[in-house]
């Protein structure tokens, strides 16, 4: 069982489809979860449909959505690191590594979850994963937590193969669906608005398993 989990992702909503069920499952088993969200996703194009947000209000709206998602999952500790959406690949790498290093030192996590650098499509995803593995890679091997990564680029299987961690989250679909629905400015999944969506077979098949690659340090 994981005791302390640190999640490092760049945008509010990066947690909902890929890891919210896994986190709810670990939390039900007693884990303490800290979610470090690097930006507020303030450059997103989705503003609700019809639009209810604008470039001025979006950061606060997305912050509220993120807090609601964390409550739905049961995440005990949310940290907003205050970087800017779309800029992480251009940020001062030492500053990024310093912030992540401080969290590692404070929390001493047994498991870290982030994006697989180079295989996560959005430049912010890749830059976040790169900063996490760069910072953890500087620790002595015996001090490194396990790192589980999310990957979904078109080319990922050729390079990194199949995931090695499969998590059955079928008993935690209520939390996962509530997490997805929290981000109402960003997503509209019609199936999830039906009655008892967690009992819908299609929903169970689409959302019931979460997949990770364990990062192998050179």
């Amino acid at each position: 069982m994981e005791q302390r989990i640190l999640v490092v992702l760049p945008h509010p909503d990066d947690e909902c489809f890929g890891i919210s069920g896994t986190l709810a499952k670990h939390i039900a088993a007693g884990a303490q979860v800290t979610y470090a969200c690097l930006t507020l996703g303030e450059r997103a194009r989705n503003m609700g449909n019809p639009p209810f947000a604008n470039r001025i209000t979006l950061p606060q709206i997305r912050k509220g959505e993120l807090e609601q998602s964390c409550r739905a999952i049961g995440i005990q500790d949310l940290r907003l690191l205050g970087f800017h959406d779309k800029t992480l690949e251009f940020e001062d790498q030492d500053l990024l590594d310093l912030k992540i290093g401080e969290l590692l030192a404070e929390l001493d996590p047994t498991l870290v979850i982030t994006f697989f650098p180079g295989f996560a499509v959005h430049p912010d995803h890749d830059a976040t994963g790169a900063a996490v593995v760069r910072t953890i890679g500087k620790l002595p091997p015996s001090a490194r937590p396990t790192v589980h990564c999310l990957a979904f680029s078109h080319n990922h299987r050729e390079s990194i193969g199949d995931p090695d961690v499969y998590v059955d989250v079928s008993d935690f679909l209520k939390q996962k669906i509530a997490s997805i629905l929290s981000h109402r400015s960003q997503f509209y999944v019609p199936q999830l608005f039906e009655k008892n969506p967690h009992k819908n077979r299609e929903v169970q098949e689409r959302f019931g398993t979460e997949r990770f690659w364990t990062y192998k340090f050179a």
């Binding site: 251009f90 001062d92 430049p123």
Partner: protein, 114 residues
């Protein structure tokens, strides 16, 4: 204009940091976007000769390229850049052209107004 060479662009970005600069930043889908394809939403903007200053900047990606410039209180960002003007030693003139050669995005920096 030549296809972007990232080492050359990075050197020029570094040589222009920490000083007042005039910027031209532009994005356009073209005025005929919706006429040619009704699913497209025509949009465009530009800002010319705004005065800016950045302390950190880089070019990223495998082409088309992205550039981010970190200012004291904000960011300048452009995605989709493909070409630069190799003949202009003083100014950094970059643009992104689509497969038919049309300009989609431009990012230009200069010590003197455009």
């Amino acid at each position: 204009m030549l296809p972007i060479q990232t080492v050359e662009i990075q050197n020029r970005i570094d040589s222009l940091k920490d000083q007042d600069l005039y910027i031209h930043l532009e994005l356009t889908t073209g005025a005929y976007a919706a006429h040619n394809d009704s699913t497209k939403h025509p949009a465009a903007n530009f800002i010319t000769n705004a005065l800016i200053r950045y302390g950190l900047g880089s070019i990223s990606g495998n082409g088309p390229y992205r550039v981010g410039l970190k200012m004291d209180k904000g960011w300048i960002y452009a995605e989709g850049l493909t070409h630069y003007d190799e003949t202009d030693a003083e100014r950094l003139i970059m643009a992104g052209h689509d497969s038919s050669g049309k300009l989609v995005v431009a990012l230009q920096l200069s010590r003197e107004p455009f």
